[in-house]
Symmetry: C2
Subunit: 339 residues, 2 copies
Amino acid sequence: MKKQRHSIKDIASALNVSVTTVSFIINGKAKEKRISEKVTKKVLAYIDEINYKPNQLAQSLRTGQSKIIVFMVEDISNYFFARLARIIEDIAYEKGYKVLFCSNDNEDKKSEELIALFKDRQVDGYIIIPSSGIKGTIKNLLDENIPLILFDRYFEDLPTNYVVIDNEEATLNATNHLIENKFKNIAFVTTDVEQTQMLSRLSGYKKAVGQKQLHEIVLKIPYNAKPVNRKAIIKDFIINNPEVDAVFFATNYLTQDGISVIKEGFPSLLSKLGIITFDDNTLYEIFTPSISAVAQPLEEICGTLMSMMLKLLKKKEDQKVEKVVLNAKLLVRESSLPK
Amino acid sequence: MKKQRHSIKDIASALNVSVTTVSFIINGKAKEKRISEKVTKKVLAYIDEINYKPNQLAQSLRTGQSKIIVFMVEDISNYFFARLARIIEDIAYEKGYKVLFCSNDNEDKKSEELIALFKDRQVDGYIIIPSSGIKGTIKNLLDENIPLILFDRYFEDLPTNYVVIDNEEATLNATNHLIENKFKNIAFVTTDVEQTQMLSRLSGYKKAVGQKQLHEIVLKIPYNAKPVNRKAIIKDFIINNPEVDAVFFATNYLTQDGISVIKEGFPSLLSKLGIITFDDNTLYEIFTPSISAVAQPLEEICGTLMSMMLKLLKKKEDQKVEKVVLNAKLLVRESSLPK
DNA sequence: CTGAAAGCGCTAACAA
DNA sequence: TTGTTAGCGCTTTCAG
């Protein structure tokens, strides 16, 4: 009762036709190659009967197409990336592609190793959140004309396809929202990495407070600091800046650190401070207070990424570079209301 | 400046040796096949020089090994699964395997489609959280002697490798913890699906309350209910069971629904009710109150899964079925302390 | 110790 | 309209 794999040759010999005929029929080229209806039907019926499935591997070897795309993010266990991954997965499978997910931890070395690994595997396309130092590797992919889309951030001076959100606009709006709600001393907690998206977020904040002539109160936390250290830094910051009445966390893990510090060290602040975070999480909705968040349009991002990718996958030539900028949405919850 | 792919043949002809020799050397069989040191070195040096990487696809076609394993969960965007995925990813890549993640939404049809898809791709092994109706499909894989490990849940009467946690023990302990903290009317909110893990959780709860002669107060929510409906059901439940002083949520999305309902409809309850949830989330720690949780040992689960998988991948014959049961850990936080 | 050659399953140019 | 055949790049048996 072992299920045995059938090959195209088996089919051909069983039906007394040639493998070519079978191959054409399987690949839907029956019409084009003008194979008789009768033969086509016979072959199709037989294929169905024995439940034949072409060996993808052989197909890939022959065509050079693996029907696999890579989706590389910082950390797949991070809520934001996991959500994206799920949506990408659904679209890809529907289109006959499989997705290899991987995490680069925002490290150049890891990113490069992973990309090298995938190149040996003839992956068809890459959707990547680049770590900051892999411009060279990305450029190589580009030079080799491999379908590639960056997202979340990109390299200013490299003509790549990318999908990002308007980070500056998003923080500008969110900061203005805080200002409208009468917060006067709004702190902005971010990291010290020079990633385009983080820089834009910072500049949106600066623009907003600048326009209203408020103080800039910025805390840059070293990217490589461990959670404990990050928390210590935030704690000091709170102690040293008692005038702060609202905090804008520029990315989700900083929000976690921040709330944790406040909860442990200054519990009364939790209801007094204005809080906004970048990137939503379903749990923020049921926090006490519920946390206002700048939410990236996940579906839209993934939809755009995949439709661009599929386009790239189709015709390899004369592609124009596409740069897409989407808008984030401010979800106003309790934490940013006037106190 | 195009990077061209080198083949084993190129190497052979460039060095005036045969492809066989090169192949043997590449595969570390130089010694075994007693190829001269000199040739070996020469080949190795050249390979290094041109940065040759074997074509995995061709290798796979020939050997039947794709070096890819499948990791199928309910929903990769779910915190628990995303965390697992990340750990699995790290181990797999280190061992030279790549991981295809996918989500079956706990649907049989989807699971079956996915498995069929992967079989055409000669995936080397499967790590699966099975949806309840795919026993047949799983059995097929088993019959074909394909490396397979189930986890989170399994089929009682199918001799498969699996890794699960002791769900009954975990809820028993956690319920006892509530009882020790003087909660008298502990409700257990679960789903109506007959999955082994959910049933065990329920029975652990029942055992605990039974031993102390407390009332069983169980709410089973239809698995397919939409969030809105789940919330409505929970709301009714709270209204109709005013005596309840503690709630044990059997899985993480129910916790979210539950807290959401409490927050919206009965905010004062949030600090009065004892709460425990199954499956941890980093954010529970910074909730107000922080939420006590039964945490599954993620690292241990993944470590076990992968070491079992690697063992299966190595020697295909005479494998004993391995059943591993690990222990969960109760993380006591504010929500389950005496009120 | 090394090489020739078959063949994994499929596609597609070329023949018939 | 259909068949023959040459590979894709690699592994491995068998023969030197």
